[in-house]
Amino acid sequence: MRGGSDDETVVLPAAVEAPGRPVAGPAAGRASDETVALRVTGQASDETVALRIAGKASDETVALRVADQASDETVVLPAGGGTPDRPLSRPGPRHRREPTKQSTADGVRVVLGLTGELLITMGLVVLLFVVYEVFVTDWMSAGKQRDATTTLDQQWSDPVVAPADPGNERTEKFHPGDGEGFAKLYIPAFGSDFVFTVLEGTTERILESGPGHYRGTAFPGEPGNFAVAGHRVGKGAPFNDLDLLQSCDALVVETQQNWAVYRVLPMREEVAGWATGRGTDPRCAGVRPLGGRYTGVVGRKIVLPSQSGVIAPIPDRPDLALDSVPPADRAALITLTTCHPRFSAAKRLVLHGVFVKGYPKDPANPDARPPELTEG
């Protein structure tokens, strides 16, 4: 309702019961359900104008809509019904009925409304953060992984850095810089398109681009423990489904000169009856429960984040150097670590695999790929 600067018109739907009820103002005398327009002297500021309307004999509230001059909000005032003898009282220039209660109520309403809106907004921000973690980082990391793969492919196809003695995996040397890709990890059980470029280092920034190789641990094909960390949820989630891998599933690592095929070690419950049980599976050729110093190293386990022994050359025996094992007994292992449970960082899911077979890359046949890649 917009009025003049000092006049407000107030439109009231007022049920006027009996024709005889006196209704003061210019519309005095209207006898039915008509809107009654009253001229009310308004104020320069945004005061609400309280009116009392003579209504029915009982305490009926008559809802009024009064335009507040300062804002476009309409304020609904309950108006107590008067008695037949009390005429409509026309408010004076600065007249207010119960001013304190009204403005306090208004203040409370504004504060509550604002608080409510702020709380909802904060809740939405938290929700958006979850969306960010689960979806947006996947999209961002896909680009970073793509860049890392492109860089690595260019490096591998560059004839200048071709090694002098290709094909001998014992002599392939690795000197990747921090954050540099140096190998590709394929997990055929997850599909033929599952491949990630592995980068050197395990800082947060590096892990955003793809799985990271724990610095100081062995490289693919070497005796020791080739340990790799990867995100479970978000940032591309390379290791999301590690809990679905079974013993003897292939983990194929491609380097510039070699293919190294690892297979997941037997699970704890499979160790006892391996020779007659799972071990008879043709896929499990070359896989058997490890003994000697490696006793207890199984395919998958859940550990606390502080248990860094899982990436030691002999897992869970960080006190032992690889030299303490005779060269013939040294195993070349692969270890993959990620979060556990899926959406938490409370623990780590650790997967161990053992080196089973190596395929040197033949320069005459560059597109040859190991048959293990199509295992599925």
């Binding site: 960010y132 892990l207 724990y214 960390a229 290791f239 670590t337």
Partner: protein
């Protein structure tokens, strides 16, 4: 708060709607590309290493 923002947007309803959409997109971009990447390393949700 939101009513105030709506009121402050200029123009008829359609223009206000477009302005609101633009504001939301700007806030989302700010959150996803500036605020969340800054906050995220400071939260303990994403450690995957054994150390």
């Amino acid at each position: 708060m939101y009513a105030l923002i709506w009121r402050l947007l200029p123009g008829p309803f359609a223009a206000k709607l477009a302005g609101a959409v633009l504001l939301i997109a700007a806030v989302l971009a700010l959150l996803f590309f500036v605020v969340f990447p800054w906050v995220e390393p400071r939260l303990p949700f994403n450690d995957v290493t054994a150390s």
